[in-house]
Symmetry: C2
Subunit: 578 residues, 2 copies
């Protein structure tokens, strides 16, 4: 492409409302524009990146024998009522009525639609498995759209669905997708991790997330230094090592501690470690308050509680509810005498001689023995994993990293087929439920994640597989006919070699051209000017390393191929190190 005929409106300054680097750079590089909160226009260069991502996704989905279809963005409410998600999905589901007052939503995902279609087609086990996918525009009415393409409201997803007759088939579908995702993210040239994950509002039996590793990620990944274990902290098991405190303690005693509201306050006042204090948290679970106990130096994990209770909606109780159920303001709740279902973290099994709130203003109980003084409904893993924990698989050391979720595979099991009665007749003529899986990739989010992971102070440093151009050819002396003739020859040569090249033929100063080339992030730059041409060379720059060298023009086909291979090998070494 010739730069002069491309619509690439680069900006010198970052718009003030751009918060993260990918958002800033996508705007500055003329790849997208904001239409309104969380809704963006993909300009030609941005669309080109999405097309490169989609092409790789398509190839791997087709290779895994999933077939592409296209479902609508507007979905009827009736189907969402069948699964109950019309009620439970939350306000991210944008609901509206048409001119005839019929209810619809903008699809944030398509389980209902595809299950409805498949149940209408399938009669016999002979028609299974069915494995389908689409690349389509989704809408989620985020409460706080932010970070550009990272958490927009309208975005592009690849979503795939599998319908199998039995568990072995469903597992095979899941594994096919897991492997396809590994290939997709490797081919995209991203540093990523596949991690165990919670299934969230999609539901199902188990799931894996694919995380692009980046400091700016919203998710935290716990991983083991010794084995392959990696999980989203939302889900990572905190292993109970079986220590229980032995022996009795003094009777429970209420003690006034005016103003000592936090674990830190109480620990300081009594000069005890936070680990000797029990934190009591009140959650509202499907409209019912429950209490959760964790050690004072731990954080409760809301998602583990939600899964334990198989709940639909869960949130921390507000001050009014805390006051109502504990008779005290926040900070003084405690399990002794509390008339609520009480769930305690595994670590508190056999806990004795602990300090807790006393359900009274400015008071805490000391010498609390959970076995003696409290009726615990269940002990379970209810806390967040920490750096002190061990790997649940091998006992190795746990570390943490930040990630951006770009893919998620779910073993749905019977959740949707049961709710929507998606059945088939098996070999014996008995009616059975199909076993489902679903598999998402955030196509537009990948573009942002790739930039979060690959940029420097000058702009984007695209991994070659998703760069909008492989190479930028800069003509420094546009008005010099000899230079321009040679540049045109080089442009033709590169195109004849199948290189996706942007030829900067604009009537602009060299500084502008250098800046734009760095900003746009093509992995390779060729720079031709009067001086170089006099010596018969074109300068080249590896965008990532910044390393420069000169290529003799006379034998450019071979010289360029050699250099391009080096640049690609450096990138491949980078991917391989992950």
């Amino acid at each position: 492409m010739r730069y002069s005929s491309c619509y690439i409106p680069t900006l010198r300054e970052s718009p003030s409302d751009a918060e993260v680097i990918s958002h800033k750079l996508l705007l500055r590089a003329g790849m997208m524009r904001r239409l309104t909160s969380g809704i963006y226009i993909y300009l030609p260069l941005g669309l080109k990146i999405l097309d490169k991502i989609s092409a790789i996704v398509r190839e791997e989905m087709n290779a895994a024998a999933f077939q592409e279809l296209l479902m609508p963005m507007v979905q009827p409410a009736d189907l969402w009522k069948e699964t109950g998600r019309w009620e439970y999905y939350g306000q991210e589901l944008l609901r509206f009525k048409d001119r005839n007052e019929r209810e619809y939503c903008l699809g944030p995902t398509h389980e209902e639609v595809i299950t409805d279609m498949v149940r209408g087609e399938v009669r016999s086990y002979r028609q299974l498995p069915i494995r389908l996918y689409q690349i389509q525009t989704k809408f989620r009415d985020e409460i706080r759209p932010r970070f550009g393409l990272m958490r927009g409201r309208e975005f592009i997803m690849k979503d795939a669905y599998s319908f199998d007759a039995d568990a072995a088939g469903a597992e095979s579908s899941y594994k096919k997708m897991f492997k396809a995702y590994m290939r997709i993210f490797r081919r995209l040239g991203l540093k990523f991790r596949a991690v165990e994950a919670d299934s969230g509002s999609i539901g199902g039996n188990f799931s894996h997330e694919f995380m692009v590793v980046a400091d700016t990620g919203e998710d935290t990944i716990a991983f083991c230094h010794s084995c392959d274990y990696a999980a989203n902290v939302e889900r990572a098991e905190a292993v109970w090592r079986g220590e229980t405190v032995q022996g009795d303690c003094l009777p429970c005693e209420k003690t006034g501690m005016p103003g000592a509201r936090t674990v830190a306050d109480v620990a300081a006042l009594l000069n005890v470690p936070p680990a000797k204090i029990i934190k009591t948290l009140i959650f509202v679970v499907d409209n019912t308050p429950v209490a959760v106990l964790v050690r004072g130096d731990r954080e409760a994990n809301e998602i583990k509680l939600k899964n334990l209770l198989d709940a639909k909606v869960i949130h921390l109780a507000g001050p009014d509810i805390v006051k109502k159920v504990t008779n005290a303001s926040c900070g003084f709740a405690g399990p002794v005498g509390l008339n609520l279902p009480i769930y305690a973290d595994l670590e508190l099994q056999g806990a004795t001689d602990y300090i807790t709130g006393a359900n009274e203003a400015d008071s805490h109980n000391t010498h609390v023995d959970l076995r003696r003084d409290v009726r615990v409904a269940a002990f379970a893993d209810l806390r967040a994993i920490t750096a002190e924990d061990i790997c649940p698989r091998c006992g190795g050391k746990i570390a943490f990293t930040k990630g951006i979720e770009v893919g998620h595979v779910f073993m749905l099991g019977l959740k949707y087929s049961e709710a929507m009665h998606a059945t088939f007749l098996d070999e014996n003529g008995s009616e059975r439920l199909m076993i489902m899986g679903c598999y998402g990739i955030g196509v537009s989010r990948i573009a942002a994640a790739a930039i979060e992971q690959n940029h420097d102070r000058y702009g984007i440093v695209f991994p070659p597989p998703l760069a909008p151009f492989e190479c930028v050819l800069i003509n420094l002396d546009q008005h010099n006919a000899v230079v321009t003739d040679t540049a045109e020859d080089i442009y033709s040569l590169l195109r004849s070699m199948g290189i996706d090249v942007l030829y900067d033929d604009r009537d602009e100063r060299p500084g502008v051209k250098f800046k734009d080339a760095d900003l746009l992030g093509a992995p390779m730059q060729l720079v031709l000017g009067n001086k170089g041409l006099a010596r018969g060379v074109v300068e080249c720059k590896d965008r990532r390393s910044g390393e420069r060298c000169e290529l003799v023009i006379e034998n450019l086909r071979e010289n360029f191929s050699l250099w391009a291979r080096q640049v690609r090998e450096h990138w491949e070494a980078l991917y391989a190190r992950q």
Copy 2:
């Protein structure tokens, strides 16, 4: 592709709610499914057709130096309020609110969005022209969605927009698109006509529609037998041949004619031709009633009236309004003494001795002279063209045909740039408005229109450029190892030749395979069975003509190439005849 691993759920019977042949066949051929009123799922084969159409559209748009981008489906109300279309677009514009009570719509078109973007980018004439397009999903909340993909609510369009600095540039953009559209529809292998058209709710100075010729089309095209003239009847000029009746007539006289409500009633009663009667129609134009006069044997053309008065909203008055403004029920309105703006068709210039309604129940006026008895606000072309009319270009004979609108190019002029203040600084530093054009192609509608034009009693007969497969290879004896080995060899051979082939390897009866092959509409069929193989031949069938012949397997590469060329040439001859 192997049929056994393709998701192609064909149906023996047409679903009862399918009204037109394209709708029936798309469902029966397993190419799409209905999700809800006017909203469809494109199954893999349907999507493949859309992809083939899109690929041709993209190639020609890129060749015309328009660049692809992608705009959102959800659009903020503010922009539509700027142009006034929030108020005037009608209920097809699906409006809704997000969780924060902000107003949005689902985009039925993108003039507002792209004008907003471009006005934010362009400062100088040096940045123009800007020529962009997208292929994107649109939504129009049709009052009565019908005919499957022909008039759905959610559909796929290619929409393009041009921004130029001056009239010459805008004309060049328009011509580029007109030519690109001619190439696109020719390459798609469709019989079509480019016709002069009304600009409708998009607005602008002039426009052309591209119509696929088909008996089932909702539009009527008037065209000239002698020259290139063709126009939508909504727009086609009815030429006034300048005849005026000379001389005076008797004084106007009110005559009782009980029950004579229609032109036919009055003509029969008085034994005069309908051409001697004036029809008076009451329209409500932007909330104001006006009267329109046409000859009794003519039809008024509402769109011509709308354009004459530069109106936003227009409709025929209901009985209440007719009663109120004429003092009589429908059928007795007349221009004499009528206190409304009166617009008369050109043909009525100098009309004398006519019969009209008398604005009184069961009464008509005779001997009406328009010059003498009526104050006409304006004479204009306000009637529909008829077979008696002459070509407005060359005076030749006019004929009519039915068409399906699949493309529309609009010279928008300043409509949007004025409303949204989309300006630039010209060479002299003066601020000027950009001149716009917009250009649409109904991608999903093309699939339906192609079928309306190309089908027979057995199924679809796809033009080769948009067939989901070029060739179906039918294995008649799936369980015979020798036949199957040879079929596999032929399948490999065809693929190696770059033929897009569907290999029917299913364990089904020959009758099922023949029926499905005819239904799916691939232009070529190869049939291999035990008997043919014994003689060393494969049978082939041209799907369109039904002609069969045999190809010797031994030299199949050459034999198939030869036959395929024949089949293609027959199709090309068909296109060329249009």
